[in-house]
Amino acid sequence: MNKLILTTAALALATGAALAESHGSVVRMGTEGAYAPWNYLDDNGDVAGFERDLGDELCKRAELTCQWVTNDWDSIIPNLVSGNYDTIIAGMSITDERDAVIDFTQPYTPPDPSCYLALSADVDVTSSMIAGQTSTIQAAFVAESGAMLVEFATPEETIGAVRAGEADAVLADCSYLEPIAAEGELVMLERKEMIGGGVGMGLRESDGELKAMFDAAIQSMKDDGSLNALIEKWEVASTF
């Protein structure tokens, strides 16, 4: 029996060492998987969307092996800083508050306005009930604008709230709202808000090396026009 335990322990140590050696090449990419066209789960349950294509291409250029992980939006930053994955690539706008906690690569989409989607076109957004996803730049903007804010954990619920009349309009990235507006029923308002500093990849502040690798990869995609092509393919933002 003792021998058995010893053998198992030795085996575990050996595999542990082998795994440790192979590390350094696997980068875990954290995303939300609920924000089409940026990132969503396809019919097979795999991560898909603009950021999937972008992330895979960046990893290829930086010669990294990447693995996709989905995580709740609410706890996406705490789990990054505690090391459960290595990057956040989830349509996260670069803001000063977030930048104080984590680091961002250079933006991979330019700063774009946010849009309102409402039941009718005559909603006055300064004095009505606006839905927003918790911990987003849009929710922070509504909270400061003087309109009433109702927060929801997922983007889907913000749309549901407008459909159900719980909120008068929802404020979110235009690219997320456009496919929904295209289905009819809800209408896009003329008014847009210029908030956010572009979307970038989030990394731990101590991970300077990885950040440099992704910065370089993003730059190379900007230079050869492949980033613009991806943006146009998924219709997520304006191009550079």
Binding site: G33, L41, D43, G45, N79, V81, N84
Partner: protein, 294 residues
């Protein structure tokens, strides 16, 4: 995926539905029922043993042990579940990694805490970054089980502590009069008799545990409620082969049936256990059984 489902745009009615219900995502949804069942099957006995240990400790005549037992139950019961599941789990994970870091990388030059970051050497990561996804998921699942066990163990400890007190003092006195030691009286007299008092409280905890599984997603474990929400949400034609409107009501309806079914089954089982435990007990239930038998 079935072969006839390769091009779902041409399908209609039942064949569409059949294809829709067998997408990879739906298979993951069905599998998550297994995840939840497994979680309950492991957590319930584990939480019960945590509870038993807590209650026994709280009763101890040795002050430090009793203090540990009482502190455990009061602190865990006082902290909101969501805070526990958001922060305790991350702290637990970091504690494991911290210990592994100290053992495996004693010569590491950098600090572990760098500002907001928690950085340990690669070999100390749990699981290692290079491990396949299922290892990460299993690890998340184990953390979930442990956290659930600690939280529900504290409530169970309180229930069991009360149940131990409810056993008539005369029973223990009789045991001692027969010459049993303190430990013997505890194991042979108190423990067998306390379950009948503990069962209603434990039954409630079980019901709450069944419905607490959505907290799993905070730990990255995808449970039935997560998948129901994901599948039921509006799907636009651009992003799926099976576009549909907001079907949350159907998916949550299915979950409702599932939960009602589990609750109904649990009540049946609990009623049977209660009947068994009441046999020969000096309680109203035991007395009713005695009369019925007489």
């Amino acid at each position: 995926m079935l072969e006839s489902c390769a091009d779902p745009s041409g399908l209609e009615g039942l064949s569409w539905l059949l294809c829709y219900l067998t997408t990879g995502k739906h298979i993951a949804f069905y599998a998550s029922f297994g995840t939840v069942a497994l979680l309950l099957a492991i957590t319930a006995p584990l939480a019960l043993s945590f509870g038993f240990a807590g209650a026994a400790a709280a009763r101890s005549r040795f002050l430090p042990v009793s203090l540990i037992g009482k502190t455990y139950t009061s602190i865990v019961r006082g902290v909101p579940d969501i805070a526990f599941f958001l922060f305790f789990v991350i702290a637990l994970d970091q504690a494991f990694e911290f210990v592994r870091h100290k053992v495996k990388c004693p010569d590491w030059p950098d600090a572990i805490r760098q500002g907001n970051d928690f950085v340990v050497c690669d070999a100390a990561k749990l699981p290692l970054s290079s491990s396949p996804q299922w290892v990460h998921e299993t690890y998340g699942f184990m953390l979930a089980v442990l956290t659930f066990a600690i939280v529900f163990g504290a409530f169970a400890a309180n229930v069991l502590y009360g149940a131990m007190k409810a056993v008539p003092r005369a029973q223990i006195e009789t045991a001692e009069a027969y010459g049993m030691s303190h430990a013997q009286a505890f194991w042979r007299i108190l423990v067998p008799q306390m379950w009948v008092y503990a069962l209603p409280g434990l039954g409630n905890l079980w019901m709450i545990l069944i419905k607490a599984t959505p907290l799993l997603f905070l730990l990255g474990v995808e449970d039935i409620v997560y998948w129901a929400r994901e599948l039921g949400g509006t799907k636009q034609a651009r992003f799926t082969d099976f576009p549909h409107g907001n079907w949350l009501v159907y998916y949550f309806g299915a979950l409702l049936v599932f939960y009602l079914f589990v609750t109904w089954g649990s009540e049946k089982v609990l009623a049977r256990v209660m009947r068994r435990l009441s046999h020969g007990q000096a309680t109203a239930g035991g007395e009713a059984l005695r009369r019925a038998g007489a």
